[in-house]
């Protein structure tokens, strides 16, 4: 057994232990802490699986945004009784059976089956980008990505629809505050511009290297949320027209490019000469909208401090 395999083994064991702690731990705060660690370890796992694009998304979303979203919820739900998790044999047996079944089934098909990788490689020359994952997301399977951007918007509509009438037209979430010129505020001043640069870099890099609109957009969302949490920026109200344009800009641009593609042959089909330009424009539009949508999803519906 070589040492690389030992590393993978320990990593996988840790992932499992942390997952057990995240669902089984007694305190909510510990559950969520372990869930953040879980996301971080998964990102390492994706690097080991040669999926650097996925590792970027997991590190940004799993360990970053989801963590902050859940921590905010813990702060509000903490005082409620939650009862210890007990080991019940029947569900445990059931879940064990399912896990063994799935594991067995996947191990059987692991070496067989047609793979799409050769097809992607054969057509990468016409895709307009060199990163095969970006080529799949924004060219070969751009339907999925367009619909996903719409799903994000629908989720935000769902979150906003939970607003009380009295709170509508206020800023999303509860009011964030920090001591002006305190440590936190200065931290935000230092880190937010840094996040902006890293976010734009990731969107830009996505054409030829791991990265893209989702990863870059998530970092942009984190940078903006950091400024909000440090008390430096005030989120716009839910009724703000400019904000709504930012939210729909990406999907709208995507749709318009798709219709332009239709005049040239097929809906969402990019003419080979135009592909690089169109994809880059869509990437930046999407990154902006994704950043705004994700940040607002994390902030939640406008609420009053009780």
């Amino acid at each position: 057994m070589n040492i690389g395999a030992v590393f993978d083994l320990l990593l996988c064991l840790l992932i499992l232990v942390v997952a057990v702690g995240a669902v089984g731990g007694r305190l909510l705060f510990t559950n969520v802490s372990l869930f953040v660690v879980f996301g971080l370890l998964l990102a390492l796992g994706w690097v080991r699986l040669d999926a650097v694009d996925v590792a970027l998304a997991e590190a940004a979303i799993g360990a970053g945004l989801t963590g902050v979203l859940l921590l905010g919820a813990v702060a509000r739900l903490e005082n409620t009784g939650s009862g210890p998790v007990r080991l019940s044999p029947i569900p445990a047996l059931l879940c064990l059976t399912i896990a063994v079944g799935i594991g067995g089934a996947f191990l059987r098909v692991n070496d067989a089956g047609p793979r799409l990788e050769p097809m992607v490689r054969a057509n990468l020359g016409e895709a307009g980008v060199d990163n095969p994952v970006t080529a799949v997301l924004l060219n070969f399977r751009s339907y999925d990505t367009l619909l996903e951007a719409v799903v994000l918007l629908i989720a935000l509509v769902g979150v906003w629809s939970l607003t009380r009438d009295a709170c509508w037209r206020q800023t999303p979430g509860i009011r964030q505050h920090a001591r002006p010129d305190g440590i936190l505020a200065n931290f935000g001043r230092l880190l937010a511009p840094f996040g902006l640069i890293v976010g734009i870099y990731l969107v830009w890099a996505g054409s030829e290297a791991p990265g893209g609109a989702f990863q870059g957009g998530t970092v942009l969302a984190a940078a903006w949320l950091l400024a909000v949490m440090a008390g430096l920026a005030m989120p716009p109200t839910t009724a703000d027209t400019r904000l709504r344009w930012v939210l729909v800009a990406g999907p709208l641009l995507f749709l318009l490019a798709g219709i332009y593609g239709m005049t040239q042959g097929a809906f969402l089909g990019w003419p080979p000469g135009m592909a690089a330009t169109l994809i880059l424009a869509i990437e930046f539009g999407l990154a902006l909208s994704i950043a705004a949508t994700l940040a607002l999803l994390v902030l939640g519906a406008p609420r009053r401090v009780s």
């Binding site: 997952a19 669902v23 694009d53 569900p91 799935i102 999803l297």
Partner: protein, 98 residues
């Protein structure tokens, strides 16, 4: 890379167990996310005997982002329930059983 396949399968099991046994909504949301991660891992580790395959990777990235939006919606529903009723669990199923 079969070890990652096994880990994915185990995560699905752990998540399902958490989903069934814990009543607290936030823990159920965590469990739901762990099931999702397990499925992503199964998909990502599938058929890895040569070049890594960009198609499942693209699907997984899409999935991670959608999981976040679903999580955000679920968290906000739980918070609203808590604001309105003070509860952090759903009402018991067999109360209104008919």
């Amino acid at each position: 890379m079969s070890i990652f396949t096994l880990t994915g399968a185990a995560l699905v099991g752990i998540g399902m167990y958490g989903m069934i046994t814990s009543r607290h909504l936030l823990r159920q949301i965590l469990a739901f996310n762990i099931i999702g991660s397990g499925i992503f891992l199964l998909l990502g580790a599938l058929g890895r005997n040569g070049e890594s395959d960009p198609v499942p990777h693209a699907l997984i990235i899409t999935g991670i982002v959608v999981a976040l939006s679903a999580t955000a919606l679920a968290v906000m529903l739980a918070l609203r329930l808590h604001e309105d009723t003070g509860d952090t669990t759903l009402p018991n199923g067999h109360d209104g059983d008919g």
